[in-house]
Structure formats: structure tokens, C-alpha cells
């Protein structure tokens, strides 16, 4: 970050701009500020924000585990992509709208997506830990392979780089709680992947901070030698952490595809649109704190939801430019907010002295 700006200074400046915007919006409802404020305050934007946060938040939690253990998983975007398209394709094969063993095929699709993503994470772990690959290059390779696989597989199954539509999860409404004013519709009347996101973030936060496995993960990234001396196998810890990143990213990618999109476009940058990289920026911004990463994902997903709705209003600013708001924000955030300290041993291979 730029010298002389602390994380809190930046947050304070941002907050005062926000207060000014809200004040202007309330006083002059027809102004630019008023229109954008009404979009930002509308329940539709908030619902969309939660759904768009799913891939970012879950990939960020996964990324935190991998990077805390010392393996920088820059290929997390690739994991999101493979889980998303395989979830859609498996749901399509089984037949969407039907169920097997009383479980809807969307859930089997989700499971398949998580499995595929976990397998890719395992492959990445082997490449990085066993064969000591450069983690950044291997991560880029993972992403590029996924960029090729998504349209390749879709063409075989659907004869087009985009998959067919399998529909999305139905909302799960929790009685009574969903009647709570303001928050009820948001948190308790929502598709299942949003509950999964909240659950996974809590689990991730708990595991990382309150279990011995969590302490091993942190030690394996900060001081692998000490962990080794204490009798814990650094390699096993790193394997577990990278595989966990595959599970979390898989939930995010498959949940997003089956809960929000219902289909997956594999052309160009694919439907994932760089959300895995936004997730990396999110956890750096949150300094590896899972709950902070959840909040950060709300920021980026909120901007995404905001720009989607602004496009619909047809405001004077061209939609192509509005679409870049989340990406520009990511750049601003990693420029101005927080100097993140990477774990000491992140990116390095660890060799125990035994062999």
C-alpha cells in the first residue's frame, strides 16, 4: 500500500464518502446520488449480492487455507471453473428436476462439482508439494487448463461452448425466521448455496482458529521447520490444506453455477469472470481472516449486483464501463488498503532433512 496511509485511514475516508453519498441521495432523490442510492438500498440488490458473493467467499476461504499452509493457490479460479461446469453437466446427465435416492439431481451435481474440484486441487498439491513446482506458474497452468476444459467438455456434451440450462436450486424458506423484518427475506428465504456459504465460512473460521489442525496450517506456512521439529508432517498438513481449498472452491463454483446461473458459458473468460482472482484479492484485503473475507466478498459482490442493476436502469454511462466497476475496485483496494504480510514460507517448498 502507499506509505502513510493506514488501513483505518482508508476505511475512514471511504466511510465519509459513503455518508456524504447517502446524505445527498436522501436530500435529492432525483439526482445521480439519489438514483444510485435507491438501487443500492433495494432488496433485489441485496439478494443478488448474497448470491454473487458465494463463489468469491468460498474461494477466498479455500485460498486462505492453502496460502496459510504455505502453498499459494493462484489457480483457485480454475477450481471454480471446473466445479461449475462439471456440476452443471452431471446434473444434466442425471436429468434435472428429477431425483435419485430421494435427493434432487442438483445436489448430486453439486457433489460432483466438489469432487472434481477436489481432484484438481489434489493434482495441484502433488505438482507443488511432490514435484516442487513453481506455485505461481502451476496455478496459472491450472487456470488455463480449466479455461480450455470448460468449452471442450461443453462442446462434447452440448455441441456448443456453453452448457444447456438445467435450472437452479429452489429457495429454502425457513418458517418463522423468514418473517423477521429487514433480514428475514435476506438470510432465511434464500437458495441453499447461500446457507452453505455462511456455514462453510463459520467452519473455516473455527477450524483455522480453534483447532490443532488450524494451528498446524498456520505453522506450516510461517515456520515449517518448527512444525517438523514438533513431529508434525509438514507435507501432510499442506496436502490437507490444498485439498480443503479444492473442497471450498468446489462448493463455491458448483453452488454458483447451480444456484445462480443454471448454465455455464465456457467461452472466453467463462461465466466465472475472474471471481477466483477477486477472491484472492479479497482474502489479502481481509489479511487472511475468514470472517473478514466474507465481508470483503460482500463488498465486491455488492458492487457486482449494483452494476448489474444500474445496467438495467439504462443510465447514461455505457454498460461496458459499468461492468468494470468490481475490477477497478479490486485494483483500488489492493493498492490503497493494507499491506498484507504473506506467511513467511508461502511460495517455498519445504524439504524435511530426513531424505
Amino acid at each position: 500500500m502507499i506509505d502513510g496511509l493506514s488501513r483505518w485511514t482508508v476505511i475512514a475516508i471511504t466511510a465519509s464518502v459513503a455518508v456524504l453519498w447517502i446524505a445527498l441521495g436522501v436530500v435529492f432523490p432525483d439526482s445521480w446520488a439519489g438514483v444510485t442510492l435507491s438501487v443500492a438500498a433495494s432488496p433485489g440488490t441485496h439478494t443478488a449480492m448474497l448470491r454473487l458473493a458465494v463463489p468469491i467467499a468460498l474461494a477466498a476461504i479455500g485460498g486462505i487455507f492453502a496460502e496459510k499452509s504455505g502453498v499459494i493457490n493462484i489457480g483457485i479460479e480454475g477450481l471454480l471453473i471446473v466445479s461449475a461446469f462439471s456440476a452443471v453437466i452431471v446434473t444434466f446427465w442425471l436429468g434435472s428436476g428429477e431425483s435419485t435416492f430421494a435427493v434432487s439431481h442438483h445436489w448430486w451435481g453439486l457433489l460432483a462439482g466438489v469432487l472434481v474440484s477436489t481432484l484438481f486441487a489434489l493434482l495441484f498439491a502433488v505438482v507443488c508439494i511432490e514435484y516442487k513446482a513453481d506455485q505461481i506458474i502451476a496455478g496459472l497452468a491450472l487456470w488455463l487448463i480449466a479455461l480450455g476444459l470448460a468449452p471442450f467438455v461443453s462442446r462434447i456434451v452440448f455441441d456448443s461452448p456453453n452448457t444447456g440450462n438445467v435450472g437452479t436450486f429452489d429457495n429454502v424458506t425457513i418458517p418463522v425466521l423468514s418473517e423477521i423484518p429487514l433480514l428475514g427475506y435476506l438470510l432465511f428465504d434464500t437458495p441453499p448455496q447461500v446457507y452453505l456459504m455462511f456455514g462453510a465460512v463459520l467452519v473455516g473460521w473455527y477450524v483455522l482458529n480453534w483447532t490443532s489442525f488450524g494451528r498446524w496450517v498456520v505453522a506450516s506456512g510461517e515456520n515449517p521447520k518448527a512444525l517438523d521439529t514438533a513431529g508434525v508432517d509438514v507435507r501432510k498438513v499442506r496436502y490437507a490444506a490444498v485439498i480443503l481449498s479444492g473442497v471450498f472452491a468446489g462448493l463455491g463454483g458448483a453452488g454458483f453455477a447451480l444456484g445462480q446461473l443454471g448454465t455455464f458459458a465456457g467461452g472466453g473468460e467463462t461465466d466465472m469472470q475472474g471471481r477466483g482472482f477477486i477472491a484472492i484479492a479479497t482474502y489479502l484485503f481481509a489479511n487472511y481472516h475468514p470472517l473478514g473475507a466474507l465481508a470483503g466478498s460482500f463488498l465486491f459482490a455488492g458492487l457486482d449486483a449494483f452494476q448489474l442493476r444500474i445496467q438495467n436502469i439504462g443510465y447514461a454511462v455505457p454498460s461496458e464501463l459499468i461492468r468494470t466497476i468490481p475490477y477497478v475496485t479490486v485494483i483500488l483496494v489492493i493498492t490503497f488498503v493494507g499491506k498484507t504480510r504473506l506467511p513467511d514460507a508461502a511460495g517455498e517448498n519445504y524439504e524435511s532433512g530426513e531424505d
Binding site: V127, I137, I145, G148, I156, P161, A281
Partner: protein, 421 residues
């Protein structure tokens, strides 16, 4: 200090150059093997009239046929009758080779300075639009004919280089002065580049007579001319002059990196930033400069894409920038190696349309292959393990591992990274 480092770098390069070539070739074959298995297996999920029947499953795709089409199709099937070197497919291959030399060099220059420029794609998009717009507007003032050609082409290339260089300087400055991770910023800027160029296009530069999103055509005489008599037809959109320019630039960059003090400082910054800072290199300025140079090369790639291939800028830009990453990594980021590696990827790119027409296998196979190549090049240890298991290898081949020869000199690149601080 300087002589010592220079000697060290020189020795490192020499010791590993054979090994690196071996690793690149092994990675290539490993990727082809894995890709072949993928093609064969995915054939079981496709539907077809005829295929290989194994225990009730029908495997639709024949990997051998796919690779035959991919590699020989890209050359215009030299083993079949009626082949001429001026054929359309070979021209496409060389056209892609030309463009990939620029994007490969773009990634390599940044990489040698210790930076990951994943933003070549965005720099190419921005540079290409700048070229098209500059040439379209300049052609209103510049006389047509030979004068137009001589003035407009260099002007267009310059515009692309400046725009791409500026777009590359942004993540460089953010890295140097705000410590913003360049992998993230360059990837984000790729999306921003698409947004900005689309906005500019719909705001001002869209060709009103064309249904496709793109600028007006540049005048015919501003396109890079074909050399007559050498055989490539003008419909092929390939110019040997452009390829010659790419090769000249490649040699120029190789010379810049290997023989100039700027190149020396750039490489030292990449290998040992502390040593570079100690010997008086302004670290921040070097980051911005190398990213600018890298971006300018990407921008020139965009310029040639416009001036040679399409004669206009189109909104749908092929992933030349991303392929450049694979080109450079396969060449171990060595500028001269990039020529060979770009030719290979030119074959893959042009061959992908050959498999698209001649087989039922999706042409996106090539994207997977280039990802696999990067993955395998990234894990030299894998091939070393296989190598030491099956072949007797002298210890001199193991310099980079623990206990190798160079280690006793104290500071190989690997040691520098792993030493306790």
C-alpha cells in the same frame, strides 16, 4: 561485485541450458500424451456413427488422427499430394507465430525482471485499438500509396506500443509504489481493457457499415504489405515482412537482455533483487520500466494483429496474450527460444482450426494442451525423478538440487531463496 554476479549468472545459464531444453521437450511430449488420453477418453462421452468399440463403450475420437490433423494440418498436409509452401494453412501458422513472438516476448521481459505480467492480453487489446484508430484517422491526412504505407505502418506500430506500454506501466507503478500484487492487478486490468475498449468503440469508433463490433477498416495501403513472388497469396493475411520484424525484435530483445547494462540490471533484479539494489539499481524504476517495455511488446502484438491479420480492430480478440504465457514459459523465458516456441504454438493455433474441420474433436483441445505444457514445464523435478530412475545421470546434471556442484560456491539462485534470513 558486478563481475562476480555476471560470472555466476553466466554459469547458471550454461549449466542449465541443456537441461532446460530437455525439460521443455519432455514437457511437450508429456502434454501430448496426456492430451491424447483426454481425447480418447472424452470420445466415450461423445456421440458418433463410427468409433472404436471396447466392451460396450464407443470411443469416438482417435488421438492419432487428431494429432495428425493438428500438426500436419497446420502445415497444409505436406505428406499429401499437391502441397505448396504458399498454402493457406501454413500462412495462418506463420501469421500466428508472428503474433505470438510479440506476446511471448512481452511475458518473458517481465518474467526476467521477476514480474508476472498476465496482462499481455489487455495490453494487446488496448494497443490494437490505439493502432486501428490512429491509422484510420491519420489516413485522412497522409497521402495514399507508398508514402502512406511508409508513414502509416510505423505510426500504427508506435501507437500500439505507446498504448500497450502505458497500460503495462499502470500495474508496474502500482507494484513499485503501492506493493500491489501484479498478478492480480494485471488480470483485473484485462477485464478493464475489454470494458474501456468496448466503451470507446460504441461511443466513437464503431464502423457504422458493419454489423460486427469493430472499427472502420484501415486503408489497404496501410496494411503490412505482402512480399510478392515468395508465394503467400494476399488473401492469407500473412506477411513475411511482419515475421522478419518479429524476429528482428526478438534478436533485439535478446541482445538488450544479454549484452546491455540495462539488460544486466533487469536480469539481476529478477534473480536477486537485493544484490541488484546493492549494486545501485533503482528497484522501483526498474519495475515500472520493465513492465512498460513488456506492455509495449504486447501493444505491438495488438498493432500487428490489426495491421496484418484483420485490417481493423475487432471487439472479439483471440487469447493471443494468454498463449504468450505458454510460449514464453516453454522457451524458459529465453528470447531466442521464443522463436521456436512461438512456431510450435502457431502450429497448435492454426492446427486447432484444422481439427475443427477435419475431426469432431473440439478445437479447444489446444487451450488444454497449452495449459498442460505450462504445468509440466513448471515441474522439472518430475522429469528429473523419472530421469534419475531410468537413466544413469552424472552428478553434474543435478547442480540445482541439494548438494550439487554449484552449491559450494555459496549462492546459486535456489540457495538464495531458501537461506534463513
Amino acid at each position: 561485485m558486478r563481475q562476480r554476479l555476471e560470472a555466476l549468472l553466466e554459469r547458471l545459464v550454461r549449466a542449465s541450458i541443456v537441461e532446460r531444453i530437455a525439460i521443455s521437450i519432455a514437457a511437450l511430449f508429456a502434454s501430448i500424451l496426456v492430451g491424447g488420453v483426454l481425447v480418447f477418453v472424452s470420445g466415450a462421452f461423445a456421440s458418433c456413427q463410427t468409433g472404436l468399440n471396447v466392451a460396450g463403450w464407443t470411443f469416438c475420437y482417435n488421438p492419432m488422427q487428431v494429432y495428425y490433423e493438428l500438426f500436419l494440418g497446420a502445415l497444409g498436409h505436406p505428406l499429401e499430394g499437391g502441397w505448396s509452401p504458399g498454402n493457406h494453412r501454413l500462412a495462418t501458422t506463420l501469421q500466428q507465430t508472428t503474433l505470438l513472438i510479440f506476446t511471448g516476448l512481452s511475458f518473458a521481459v517481465a518474467y526476467r525482471a521477476g514480474l508476472f505480467n498476465i496482462g499481455t492480453q489487455g495490453q494487446l487489446v488496448v494497443g490494437g485499438l490505439a493502432t486501428a484508430v490512429t491509422v484510420v484517422y491519420a489516413s485522412l491526412v497522409v497521402p495514399s500509396g507508398v508514402v502512406g504505407t511508409v508513414v502509416l505502418i510505423p505510426l500504427g506500430v508506435l501507437a500500439g506500443a505507446v498504448a500497450g506500454g502505458f497500460f503495462g506501466a499502470i500495474p508496474g507503478a502500482l507494484k513499485a509504489y503501492a506493493d500491489a500484487n501484479e498478478v492480480i492487478t494485471t488480470i483485473m486490468l484485462n477485464f478493464v481493457a475489454v470494458g474501456i475498449t468496448s466503451t470507446l468503440l460504441s461511443w466513437q469508433f464503431q464502423d457504422p457499415d458493419s454489423p460486427n463490433p469493430g472499427t472502420r477498416r484501415i486503408p489497404e495501403y496501410a496494411e503490412i504489405p505482402n512480399i510478392p513472388l515468395v508465394g503467400f497469396s494476399s488473401r492469407a493475411n500473412f506477411s513475411l515482412l511482419a515475421l522478419a520484424f518479429a524476429i528482428a525484435l526478438m534478436i533485439g530483445i535478446a541482445w538488450l537482455l544479454a549484452r546491455t547494462s540495462f539488460g544486466y540490471e533487469l536480469r539481476t533484479s529478477g534473480v536477486q533483487p537485493e544484490a541488484a539494489a546493492y549494486s545501485g539499481v533503482d528497484e522501483k524504476r526498474m519495475i515500472v520500466t520493465s513492465m512498460t517495455l513488456s506492455g509495449a511488446l504486447g501493444g505491438i502484438g495488438g498493432a500487428l494483429w490489426v495491421l496484418m491479420q484483420h485490417g481493423r480492430w475487432l471487439e472479439s480478440v483471440p487469447p493471443l496474450g494468454f498463449d504468450g504465457i505458454a510460449v514464453s514459459i516453454l522457451a524458459a523465458n529465453n528470447p531466442l527460444g521464443i522463436g521456436v516456441s512461438a512456431l510450435l504454438f502457431g502450429v497448435l493455433d492454426s492446427g486447432s482450426s484444422a481439427i475443427g474441420t477435419a475431426t469432431a474433436v473440439p478445437p479447444e483441445l489446444v487451450g488444454i494442451l497449452s495449459g498442460l505444457i505450462i504445468l509440466f514445464v513448471a515441474m522439472p523435478e518430475f522429469f528429473r525423478m523419472i530421469g534419475t530412475r531410468y537413466v544413469e545421470v552424472g552428478s553434474s546434471d543435478l547442480v540445482r538440487t541439494d548438494g550439487g556442484e554449484l552449491a559450494e560456491d555459496g549462492a546459486t539462485a535456489d540457495d538464495g531463496g531458501e537461506r534463513d534470513d
